[in-house]
C-alpha cells in the first residue's frame, strides 16, 4: 500500500536539504537584488507597477524596492518583513539589514555544506551578535551634554544618510533642512508635524524649510488675501447643511410654502452658526470639512478669511503650530483657545497659490517645500528626506553616535574575530562566518563605488588592528580615510537595529527544515 497523500492537491512540502536550499536561494536572490543600491555610489532601481497606468518609481530606498516586489519564496518574505520593520522603527538602514541577513545566510550555507548543524551555527551567531553589539557600545560617542557638538553630529548623520540618495548633490543643504526641522520637534518623534509639500519646477536647491506653516489651499473668493495679527479658529464641523442627526428624522411637508419656510429655518441656523463663529473674535477660520457658498459669503461679508477642506493632518498641524484647539461646537466663545499668528498671506510657489502662516506661536511644526524637475525626482527626494528625518528624530532620543563608512562593521568584525579565536568547538566556525558577513558590507560599498574592494578591505582591516582607529572607506577619493575627519557618522540606534534584526531573521530562516506550502486560494476570474 502506497503512502496516502496527506496534503491537499496543490499543497507542497519540501524537506531537509531541499527546504534549506529553497530558503537560502530565495534570501540570497533578494540580497543580490538590493545589494547594488548600498552606499554612496549605489545605483537606483526603476519599479514599474502592474496596476493601472503602469506607474514608475525610481528609488534607492531598500524598503520601497522590496515593498513593491511580488515574491513567492517564503524566506524572501521574511527578509522583506525585516526591511519593512526597520523602516517603521528607525527609518533608515533598510538595505543594510537585508544585505547583512543575506550575507549571514550565504555564510551559513557554506557551513551547512561543511556538515555543521544549523543549531550550532545559530548559537555561534548569537554569541557573535552579542559580542558585536558590545563592541559598538564601547566605541559610541555621546554628545548629549554638548548641544553644539550634538548639532554637528546630527548634521553629519543627515549628510551620511543623504549621501546615498538622489539628494547627495545638495546634501549639505538638505541636511541643514532636516536638522532644523527635527530640532524644532524638541524631542518628539511625531514626524507628522513636519509637512513636506512637493511642487514640481525649479531645482532641488530651491527647496526650503519654512519656519511657519504652509497650507496647500486657496483662499475663498472675495476674502482678504493678507491678514496681520491673525486670530485663527481651527474647526472640524459641518458647514454645508447642518443636518439634524437624530435618527429617523426627516423632512416631510405638504406644500411648497412649507419647504420654503424650512429652508429659511435652515439658512437661519447656518447664519446663527456663522455668527457664533465670528463672535469668537476671529479673522481666520479653517475648517476640515467643506464650507458651502452661503456661509462662505457670510464670512466674506464679515471680513473673515475662511479656508475649507483642509485635510485632517493639515488641521492637526495647524492646531499644533498656532496653539489653538480644534473646535466643533461654538457656544462658549470665551473658553475656546484661539490660535494666533503674525501674518497670513497667499504666496506663490511655481504656479500654485498656497496659504502661508508666518510668525506662529509654537514652533513645533514646520513645512519643507521640495522643488525639483519631475515627479519622480520629487518622490524620491521625499523618501530620502523622510529617511533622514526618521534617523535624526531617533537620534535626538538616543544620542549615541558612531562613525560611518564601514567603520562600525570593521570594529565589530575585529571583536567577533577575536571571540572566534577564544571559543572552543564548532561554534567558532559560525562566529568566524559572522565576522565575514560583517566585512561583506564594506566590501559591497567599495564594489558599488567601482573600487578594488579586496585591496581596500584588506587595508582597512590592517588599519583597524590598531586600537582606537577611525578608518573607514572614503568612497570619494577611493582610499582608506579617517571617518572622524571626513565627518561621516551614523546613528547607533540604526546600526543596532540592523545588527539585531538581521541576526534574528537569519536565525529564523536557519531553523527551518521543512517548508509546507498550502494550495493557493482559488481566485475567480472576473472577466
Amino acid at each position: 500500500m502506497a503512502i496516502e497523500k496527506i496534503l491537499k492537491d496543490d499543497a507542497s512540502e519540501e524537506k531537509g536539504e531541499r527546504a534549506r536550499m529553497a530558503s537560502f536561494v530565495g534570501a540570497i536572490a533578494i540580497t543580490d537584488l538590493v545589494k547594488t543600491t548600498l552606499g554612496p555610489k549605489g545605483m537606483d532601481k526603476i519599479l514599474q507597477s502592474t496596476g493601472r497606468g503602469h506607474g514608475v518609481t525610481v528609488t534607492n530606498d531598500g524598503a520601497t524596492i522590496l515593498k513593491s516586489l511580488h515574491i513567492d519564496n517564503p524566506a524572501a518574505k521574511v527578509l522583506i518583513d525585516i526591511s519593512k520593520v526597520q523602516d517603521d522603527e528607525v527609518g533608515d538602514g533598510t538595505t543594510s539589514v537585508v544585505v547583512l541577513a543575506g550575507e549571514l545566510l550565504r555564510e551559513a550555507e557554506k557551513l551547512v555544506a561543511a556538515k555543521i548543524h544549523p543549531m550550532t551555527i545559530i548559537s555561534g551567531y548569537r554569541m557573535a551578535a552579542e559580542c558585536a553589539r558590545n563592541a559598538l557600545l564601547q566605541r559610541v560617542v555621546d554628545n548629549k551634554e554638548n548641544a553644539e557638538k550634538f548639532k554637528s553630529d546630527l548634521m553629519k548623520i543627515a549628510m551620511t544618510t543623504l549621501s546615498s540618495k538622489i539628494l547627495s548633490q545638495d546634501k549639505e543643504h538638505f541636511a541643514q533642512l532636516a536638522v532644523d526641522a527635527v530640532m524644532r520637534l524638541k524631542g518628539s518623534t511625531n514626524l507628522e508635524a513636519i509637512q513636506i509639500i512637493k511642487k514640481p519646477g525649479g531645482s532641488l536647491m530651491d527647496s526650503f524649510l519654512d519656519e511657519g506653516f504652509i497650507l496647500d489651499k486657496k483662499i475663498g473668493l472675495g476674502q482678504p488675501k493678507r491678514i496681520e495679527n491673525a486670530k485663527i479658529l481651527v474647526a472640524n464641523t459641518a458647514m454645508d447643511t447642518d443636518k439634524v442627526k437624530i435618527y429617523g428624522a426627516r423632512v416631510r411637508v405638504d406644500s411648497m410654502s412649507k419647504v420654503a419656510e424650512i429652508e429659511g429655518a435652515e439658512k437661519e441656523k447656518m447664519r446663527e452658526k456663522v455668527q457664533k463663529i465670528i463672535a469668537h473674535g476671529i479673522n481666520c477660520f479653517v475648517n476640515r470639512q467643506l464650507i458651502y457658498n452661503f456661509p462662505e459669503e457670510l464670512f466674506a461679508d464679515a471680513g473673515v478669511l475662511a479656508i475649507e477642506h483642509a485635510d485632517f493632518d493639515g488641521i492637526e498641524r495647524l492646531a499644533l503650530v498656532t496653539g489653538g484647539e480644534i473646535a466643533s461646537t461654538f457656544d462658549n466663545p470665551e473658553s475656546v483657545k484661539i490660535g494666533h499668528c503674525k501674518l497670513i498671506e497667499e504666496i506663490m510657489i511655481g504656479e500654485d497659490k498656497l496659504i502661508h502662516f508666518s510668525g506662529v506661536e509654537m514652533g513645533q511644526a514646520c513645512t519643507i517645500v521640495l522643488r525639483g524637475a519631475s515627479h519622480h525626482v520629487l518622490d524620491e527626494a521625499e523618501r530620502s528626506l523622510h529617511d533622514a528625518l526618521c534617523v535624526l528624530s531617533q537620534t535626538v532620543n538616543d544620542t549615541r553616535v558612531l562613525l560611518g563608512g564601514g567603520w562600525p562593521e570593521m570594529v565589530m568584525a575585529k571583536e567577533v574575530d577575536e571571540l572566534a579565536r577564544k571559543t572552543p568547538g564548532k561554534k567558532s566556525h559560525a562566529i568566524e562566518a559572522f565576522s565575514r558577513a560583517l566585512v561583506a558590507i564594506p566590501t559591497i560599498i567599495a564594489d558599488n563605488a567601482g573600487l578594488d574592494s579586496a585591496d581596500l578591505v584588506a587595508q582597512l582591516r590592517a588599519a583597524h588592528h590598531k586600537e582606537g582607529c577611525n578608518a573607514g572607506i572614503d568612497v570619494i577619493s577611493g582610499s582608506v580615510g579617517d571617518m572622524a575627519e571626513l565627518g561621516i557618522s551614523e546613528s547607533f540606534k540604526v546600526k543596532q537595529a540592523v545588527l539585531l534584526s538581521a541576526t534574528e531573521a537569519a536565525e529564523m530562516i536557519l531553523r527551518v527544515d521543512e517548508i509546507i506550502t498550502c494550495a493557493p486560494r482559488q481566485r475567480e476570474d472576473r472577466m
Binding site: I6, D9, I82, H117, V244, I262, A505
Partner: protein, 535 residues
C-alpha cells in the same frame, strides 16, 4: 469493491453510486491509516526538543508562518487525509487541555502506530492490540505518578516555576532570552492566579505584540495596554490617578432600536429638534463629568461635536475600544461597564494610577497604557521583536509557558524532562508486560518500545547517536534505580535531568500518553474506509 449477490446469483448494489467510491477494507485499511498517521508524525518529529528545527508554512494567501509549535504546524497545514486530520485534532486537544507538549503527543502516537503495524503483520487482532495499549497506558500513567515529585513554591519562591517554564521555552526560537521570558510568564500567572482555589484564568493575561525593538525589550505591564489613542489630538497624553468611566454607549445622537419616524413639517419642530440634539450632547458629557470621571473609555464612536465637547470640558476620551479589552480594563481598574449614561454613578468608575500614551518608531503608532490599577489582577505581556513572524512565534511560546505555569499552580507535581520520564515508563511497562498472560503481552511490550521513540527523537535531533545514547541511559536508569536520567540534548556533560533543571508537568505528560493511546485505539479500530473517489 465487494459486490453482494442475492439468492439467484444476481449482483445488487449496496452503496449509492458504488462505482464512484473507493473503498478500503480489512488489513489494507488499517495499514493505509497507519501510514497516514505515521507520515504526520514524521513531519513533527524533527521539531521535538531543544535542538528541534522549525517549519515554514505558507498559507493559501501567501502569508508566512515560522513555528516550532506542533499544534500550529498541524493547524496551518492543508491536511486532506481523514486520519491525518485525526492527528491534527489530537494535537489541538493537547493544546486546549494542557497548552504544551503538542509535538510530543503526535510523535508518541506515530510511534504507537508504527509498533501496531508490526503486530498486525504478525497477525494479532487490532482489538487485542488496542486493549494491550490501553493496559500499558494505565501502567505508564500510574508509574508517572509514582516517579513524580512535588515541589513548593510561593509568591516569593518562584524559582521552580521559572525553571519549568524555561524547559518549555528552550525548544522555541526565543530560547535566546528564555530566562527573562520565563520570569515574565511566571510573574504574570502568579499575579492573576487564585492560589487558594488553585486556578488561573488565562483570559486575564493579555499578550500584545508590536514589531520593532528587540526581544529583550519584552516587558510585563501590571495593567492593560490598548492599541488606541485619545479621540482628540489635543487631549492630555498622561493622566495621573485617573477615574475611568467605561461606557458601551456611543457619544452620538440617540438611535432608538424600534422603528420610528420623526417627521419635520414645521419650522418650530425643526428648531426644537435641533435644540434637543444639542442639549443631548451636552447632557451626555455633563453626566460623565458629574460623576467625577477623568477619563472616558468607550466602545463606540464619537460624533465630532461630542468629541469637541469632551475636549472642551477637559475630559479625555478613548473611542472604539474592543469588547474584550473593555472587560479587561473593567477588571483591572475595578470599574463597571456602564451601558447607559443615566446609570453612571461614582462607584462604577474604575481607578488607575497612571494612564499614558506612548508612541513607537517613526510611524504614528500609539498605544495607551493603563497602569497602577486598583486591582492589578489583569496584566499584559508586551512583546517586541525584529519581525512579524518573530512576534507571532513569541506569542505562541509565551502562551505555552503560561499554560505550563498554570498547570503547575493547579497541580504542583513535576516529572523530569529530557525523555527521562518516558524511559522510566518504558522500563516499568516492559517489566509489567512479562507478567501479563495472553496476547496483550505483545502489545504492552510494543507500547514500551513506542515510549522509547520520544527520547530517541530527542537524541536524533540533538545530533547524538540515537540507539547508543538511549541504551546507555536506559541501563544507567536500571543500574542506579534513578528515574532522572535523560538525554543530554544541550551537551552539558551530565544526563541527570535534576541537575540540568529540566522539568515537565506531570499532568502534561500523563495527558500526552492518554491522548495518544486513545487516538491510536480509534485508528486501529477502523477496518473500512469508504470515500468518494472524486470530489
Amino acid at each position: 469493491m465487494a459486490l453482494a449477490f442475492d439468492e439467484y446469483g444476481r449482483p445488487f448494489i449496496i452503496l449509492k453510486e458504488q462505482d464512484q467510491k473507493t473503498r478500503l477494507r480489512g488489513i489494507e485499511a488499517q495499514k493505509a491509516n497507519i501510514s497516514a498517521g505515521k507520515a504526520v508524525a514524521r513531519i513533527l518529529r524533527t521539531s521535538l526538543g531543544p535542538k528541534g528545527m522549525d517549519k515554514m508554512l505558507q498559507s493559501p494567501d501567501g502569508d508566512v508562518t515560522i513555528t516550532n509549535d506542533g499544534a500550529t504546524i498541524l493547524e496551518q497545514m492543508d491536511v486532506d487525509n481523514q486520519i491525518a486530520k485525526l492527528m491534527v485534532e489530537l494535537s489541538r486537544s493537547q493544546d486546549y487541555e494542557i497548552g504544551d507538549g503538542t509535538t510530543g503527543v503526535v510523535v508518541m502516537a506515530g510511534a504507537l502506530l508504527e509498533q501496531a503495524e508490526h503486530l498486525l503483520e504478525r497477525g494479532i487482532h487490532p482489538i487485542r492490540i488496542a486493549e494491550g495499549y490501553e493496559m500499558a497506558s494505565r501502567i505508564a500513567v500510574e508509574h508517572l505518578e509514582h516517579i513524580a515529585q512535588k515541589f513548593d513554591f510561593g509568591p516569593t519562591n518562584i524559582e521552580p516555576l521559572v525553571q519549568t517554564c524555561m524547559t518549555t521555552l528552550s525548544s522555541k526560537i526565543v530560547n535566546r532570552c528564555k530566562r527573562p521570558l520565563a520570569e515574565i510568564s511566571v510573574k504574570a500567572v502568579l499575579s492573576v492566579a487564585d492560589l487558594e482555589r488553585k486556578d488561573v484564568n488565562l483570559d486575564l493575561i493579555k499578550v500584545e505584540g508590536k514589531v520593532g525593538g528587540k526581544l529583550e525589550d519584552t516587558e510585563l505591564i501590571y495593567g492593560i495596554t490598548v492599541d488606541k489613542d485619545m479621540s482628540h489630538p489635543q487631549m492630555p497624553k498622561q493622566i495621573q490617578d485617573a477615574k475611568i468611566a467605561i461606557l458601551t454607549c456611543p457619544f452620538e445622537p440617540p438611535k432608538p432600536k424600534t422603528k420610528h419616524k420623526v417627521d419635520i413639517d414645521t419650522v418650530e419642530k425643526f428648531q426644537t429638534l435641533r435644540q434637543q440634539e444639542q442639549k443631548y450632547f451636552d447632557d451626555m458629557v455633563q453626566k460623565c463629568k458629574d460623576v467625577g470621571a477623568t477619563l472616558v473609555i468607550c466602545q463606540w464612536g464619537f460624533d465630532d461635536e461630542a468629541n469637541h465637547l469632551l475636549m472642551h470640558r477637559n475630559l479625555p476620551a478613548v473611542r472604539w475600544v474592543g469588547g474584550v479589552e473593555l472587560e479587561l480594563i473593567a477588571i483591572a481598574t475595578g470599574g463597571r461597564i456602564v451601558p447607559r449614561f443615566q446609570e453612571l454613578t461614582p462607584e462604577k468608575l474604575g481607578r488607575a494610577g497612571l494612564v499614558r500614551e506612548k508612541s513607537f518608531g517613526t510611524t504614528k503608532d500609539k498605544m495607551l497604557y493603563i497602569e497602577h490599577c486598583a486591582n492589578s489582577r489583569a496584566v499584559t505581556i508586551f512583546i517586541r521583536g525584529g519581525n512579524k513572524m518573530m512576534i507571532e512565534e513569541t506569542k505562541r511560546s509565551i502562551h505555552d509557558a503560561l499554560c505550563v505555569a498554570r498547570n503547575l499552580i493547579r497541580n504542583n507535581s513535576i516529572v523530569y524532562g529530557g525523555g527521562s520520564a518516558e524511559i522510566s515508563c518504558s522500563i516499568a511497562v516492559e517489566a509489567a508486560a512479562d507478567k501479563h498472560p495472553g496476547v496483550e503481552q505483545y502489545a504492552i511490550r510494543a507500547f514500551a518500545d513506542a515510549l522509547d521513540s520520544v527520547p530517541m527523537a530527542l537524541a536524533e535531533n540533538s545530533g547524538l547517536q540515537p540507539i547508543e545514547t538511549l541504551s546507555a541511559v536506559k541501563s544507567q536508569q536500571i543500574k542506579e534505580n534513578n528515574p532522572h536520567f535523560g538525554i543530554d540534548c544541550n551537551d552539558v556533560g551530565t544526563n541527570d535531568m535534576r541537575e540540568q533543571n529540566v522539568f515537565e508537568t506531570l499532568i502534561g505528560k500523563q495527558q500526552q500518553i492518554l491522548l495518544a493511546t486513545q487516538v491510536v485505539k480509534m485508528i486501529l479500530k477502523i477496518d473500512d474506509v469508504i470515500s468518494p473517489s472524486d470530489f
